[in-house]
C-alpha cells in the first residue's frame, strides 16, 4: 500500500515537473505550441487557391480561318488557360515563353480548315513548359477539351440533315461521365494539407521532446538523460509521467491541427469525429514514444533541429501520398514502417478526406498500436540504460570521492 502511495506521489511530481518544463522552456514551447499553431495556417495559406487557372499561353494561328478562330476561342474559354498573345510564328511564341510571359504555345497549322473541309484528320500542336507539371496539365486539358468540343460539332455537321437524337448518337454512341471523388476540384490544398497536418504532429513532438532531452543532458552532471536524484524513483514512473504529460499537451493541439485548421480553410472533413479521435489516439501515443526513444540520441539542446527537420520531406514522399505507394520500392516501404507518420497519414486521409469508417482501417490502426507498444518498450530500455549508466557514474564518483578522502586522511595522519 505504501509502495503505491509513494509511486503515485512520485508520478504526480514528475508529471507536473515535465508539464511545467514544456511551458517554461521557450525552445520547447516554440515546437510544442507555436509551430503546431502557426505552421498549418501558413501552409494552408500557400495552397489555399487549390488550382491553377488561366495559365498564360501564346498561340500561333497559321490558318486564320473561321474554324481555326473558333478552335482558339474554345481554347481561351476553358478555365485552364488564357490566350495572352497571338504570334506571327513559333519563334515569336518561343520568345514569349523564354521571357516567362507565356508558359505554353498552341499552333494551328496552315491547312487546318482545308483538311477539315476535305474530311481529313488534322493535328494541332501544343507545347508546354515543363518547369511545373501543372503547366503541362493545364495546356493538355485545355487543348483536349477544345478539340473534343470542335470534333463533336464537326461530326454533327458532317452527318447532315439529322434529328437531334441522331446528332447525339453521332457525337457519342457511348457517353461517359467523369466523377472526381473526395477532391472534386482536383485541388492542391485538399490533397497536400491533410498529410502535412499529420506530419506536423510527429515532427513537432520529435523536436520538442528531443530539445527537452537535450536540455536535461546539458544540465545533468553526468550528461545523462535522467536527472540526478531521480534514479530511485523507477524507470516506469519516469516514462509514464513524461509520456502522459506530452499526451495532455498534444490532445488539444491535435484537435486544433486536425479538426480546426481544415475547418478554417474549408478543406473537406468527411470523417466522423469519434472515428477520427479513435484513430489519432494511437498515432499520438506512438509519436510520443517514438520521440522519447529518438531523444536518447540527442546530445545537446539544439542538435535535434538539425537531426529532425529535414526528414519531413522524405517522410511525406514515403507515406504514399505525393508518390503513389504502389510505385514505392519494397526497401523504402519497409523503412517507412518505422515511422508512425506513414500509417497516420494514410489513415487520416482516408477518414478525413474520404469518410472511411474506422473498421476499414483496421490494418493501419493495428500497426499504430503495435508501433506504440514497440516504442514504449524501447523507451523503457533507453531510460533504463540511462538510469543504470547514471547510477554507475554516481557510484564511481562516490568511490572516487571516498578514495580521495581516505588519501587525505592518511596524509594528515602521516603529518601528525
Amino acid at each position: 500500500m505504501n509502495y503505491w502511495k509513494q509511486a503515485l506521489s512520485d508520478w504526480n511530481h514528475l508529471f507536473r515537473e515535465e508539464l511545467l518544463g514544456v511551458f517554461k522552456d521557450q525552445g520547447v514551447l516554440i515546437f510544442c505550441l507555436l509551430v503546431p499553431l502557426g505552421y498549418p495556417l501558413l501552409y494552408a495559406f500557400i495552397y489555399t487557391n487549390e488550382v491553377l487557372h488561366e495559365l498564360p499561353v501564346a498561340v500561333v494561328d497559321d490558318c486564320r480561318s473561321t474554324q481555326s478562330r473558333e478552335f482558339l476561342r474554345h481554347l481561351d474559354a476553358t478555365s485552364d488557360v488564357r490566350i495572352t498573345a497571338y504570334c506571327a510564328d513559333m519563334a515569336e511564341a518561343q520568345e514569349l515563353v523564354k521571357r516567362r510571359e507565356a508558359y505554353g504555345a498552341v499552333c494551328v497549322p496552315r491547312d487546318f480548315s482545308r483538311r477539315l473541309a476535305r474530311g481529313e484528320q488534322v493535328a494541332v500542336s501544343a507545347y508546354s513548359d515543363l518547369g511545373g507539371m501543372l503547366y503541362y496539365k493545364a495546356v493538355l486539358t485545355a487543348a483536349t477539351n477544345a478539340s473534343l468540343d470542335l470534333n463533336a460539332q464537326i461530326k454533327v455537321k458532317r452527318a447532315g440533315g439529322t434529328t437531334a437524337e441522331q446528332d447525339q448518337v453521332a457525337e457519342h454512341p457511348i457517353t461517359y461521365q467523369e466523377v472526381s471523388v473526395f477532391n472534386p476540384q482536383n485541388g492542391f490544398a485538399t490533397f497536400l494539407i491533410p498529410a502535412v497536418l499529420v506530419l506536423i504532429i510527429q515532427q513537432t513532438l520529435l523536436l520538442g521532446v528531443g530539445m527537452a532531452a537535450g536540455t536535461a543532458r546539458e544540465q545533468n552532471r553526468f550528461r545523462s538523460l535522467v536527472p540526478f536524484g531521480r534514479q530511485r524513483r523507477g524507470m516506469l514512473r519516469i516514462v509514464w509521467a513524461k509520456s502522459l504529460a506530452y499526451l495532455l499537451v498534444y490532445i488539444p493541439i491535435s484537435v486544433y491541427v486536425l479538426g480546426v485548421v481544415p475547418h478554417l480553410f474549408q478543406l473537406s472533413q468527411l470523417g466522423r469525429p469519434a472515428d477520427m479521435a479513435l484513430f489519432m489516439l494511437p498515432y499520438v501515443v506512438a509519436c510520443i514514444f517514438f520521440a522519447m526513444t529518438v531523444s536518447a540520441l540527442v546530445r545537446n539542446r539544439e542538435m535535434c533541429i538539425l537531426l529532425i527537420v529535414f526528414t519531413s520531406v522524405p517522410l511525406l514522399f514515403i507515406s504514399g501520398l505525393s508518390w503513389p505507394s504502389s510505385a514505392v520500392s519494397a526497401v523504402w516501404k519497409t523503412i517507412g514502417y518505422i515511422f508512425p507518420s506513414t500509417f497516420g497519414i494514410k489513415g487520416f486521409v482516408a477518414i478525413n478526406n474520404m469518410g472511411a469508417p474506422l473498421g476499414d482501417l483496421r490494418q493501419e490502426w493495428t500497426m499504430l498500436w503495435l508501433q506504440a507498444a514497440v516504442y514504449c518498450l524501447t523507451t523503457c530500455v533507453v531510460y533504463r540504460a540511462s538510469i543504470l549508466h547514471s547510477r554507475q557514474r554516481l557510484l564511481q564518483a562516490w568511490q572516487a570521492a571516498r578514495l580521495r578522502r581516505r588519501q587525505l586522511r592518511s596524509h594528515s595522519t602521516e603529518h601528525v
Binding site: 511545373g132 478539340s147 454512341p173 461517359y176 467523369e178 527537420v309
Partner: protein, 383 residues
Amino acid sequence: MKFPFLREWRRMLRQPIYAFGMVAAPLLCCLFFTSLMSEGLPEKLPLGLVDEDNSATSRNIARNLDAFQMVNVARVYANVGEARRAMQQGEVYGFYLIPHGTASEANRQRVPTVSFYTNHSYLVAGSLLYRDMRMMSELASGAASRSVLYAKGATERQAMAYLQPVVIDMHAVGNPWLNYSIYLSNLLIPGVLGLFIFMITVYSLGTELKFNTARALLRRSGGSTAAALTGKLLPQLLVFLLTGTVCVWWLYGHLHFPCHCGLPRMWLIMVLFVVGCQGLGVFMFTMLPTLRLGLSFASLWGVISFSICGMSFPCMAMHPILQGLAWLFPLRHYYLLYVNSALNGYALQNAWPYVLCLLAFALLPLLCLPRLGKVLREYAYLP
C-alpha cells in the same frame, strides 16, 4: 584568417553533427529521391473495375484499359459500394463502371453512359488514371461509331478522320517522358541542401556564443569580424560545394537528367545557390542571435522553400503577398535558373535578375558585419 580557418576544420572533424548535416544527410536524400522515383512515371497504378454488363464490349473495354501503360486493373468488384470501399482503403486509386445493358443499348443506338471515378485525394495517381480512363472512354465511344462506319463501307482513314477530325499533338518541352524524378528530384535535392546550409551556418555561429568561444575567436582573428567570419565559413563553403558538386554530378552526369546548358553552367548555378544560402544563413543569425530562435527560423525558411519556390504549385496561383515573398527564398531563384538553363537551354543572361538575387544573398554578410561583430562580442547564450 588562418587561425579561424584551421580551427573550423578541427571543429567540423571533431563534431559528427557537421559531417551528418553537410555531407551524409544531403547525399542520403539525393539517393532517396532519385531511387524512390527511379521509375520516372509511376506505372501500373491499381484500378478497380465494376463490370455489371459482362458483355463482349465491356470486356473489351476492360482489356484495353489494362493495356494502358499507367493502368493495372487490379480487382473486379461486384458493385459500386464495394469499389468505393476499396478506394477508401487505398487499394485502388479509382474505378471504371460499365453499367448493365451498355453493349445492347449501344447496339440499339440508345446512348448508354459509362462512368469513371478517380480519387483525387492522391493527386498524382488520380491525375494519371484520369487521363487514361478518359482516353479509354473516348476510344470506347469511337469504337462503337467506327463499327457503324465500317459497316457503311468507310476506309480506316476515312473513319478516323470522321471520328477525330482534330487531334492534339502534345509536346512536353524539356521533359518529353513526363519523368517525375526530373520534375521533382532536381529541386528537392538542392532544397534539402539549402535547408542544411541555413541550419549549419546558424548552428556553427550560435555554438560560438553557447560555448563562450566567440570572443576568443575574434581575438585570435586580430579583432576583425570579417576575418573571423570568412575564416569560419570558408571550410564550410568548401564542404558544401563538394556536396553540391556530387549532387550535380549525380543528377546530370550519372542519371543524365536533361541539362541543355552543360554541366559547368549548372555547377555554377549550384555554386551561386550555395553561397546565397550561406549569406542568408549569416543574416538569419545576425538578426536572431539566440540559437534556438535562429535555428527555428532557419528551418522554417528552409522547409517553406519547398512549397514557395513554385515547383509543385505554381507561384502565379498563390496569393500576391506570397508571390512577393517568394523572392526572398534562394530556392526560388535556383528553380527559375534551373528551368531556364538546364531544362530549356536558354542563356544565363536571359535570367539575369535571379543571378543577381543569389549574388545579393551572398553579399548580405557584408551588410550585417558590424552588427554581427557586436553580437559576437556582447551577446550571451540564452537557452
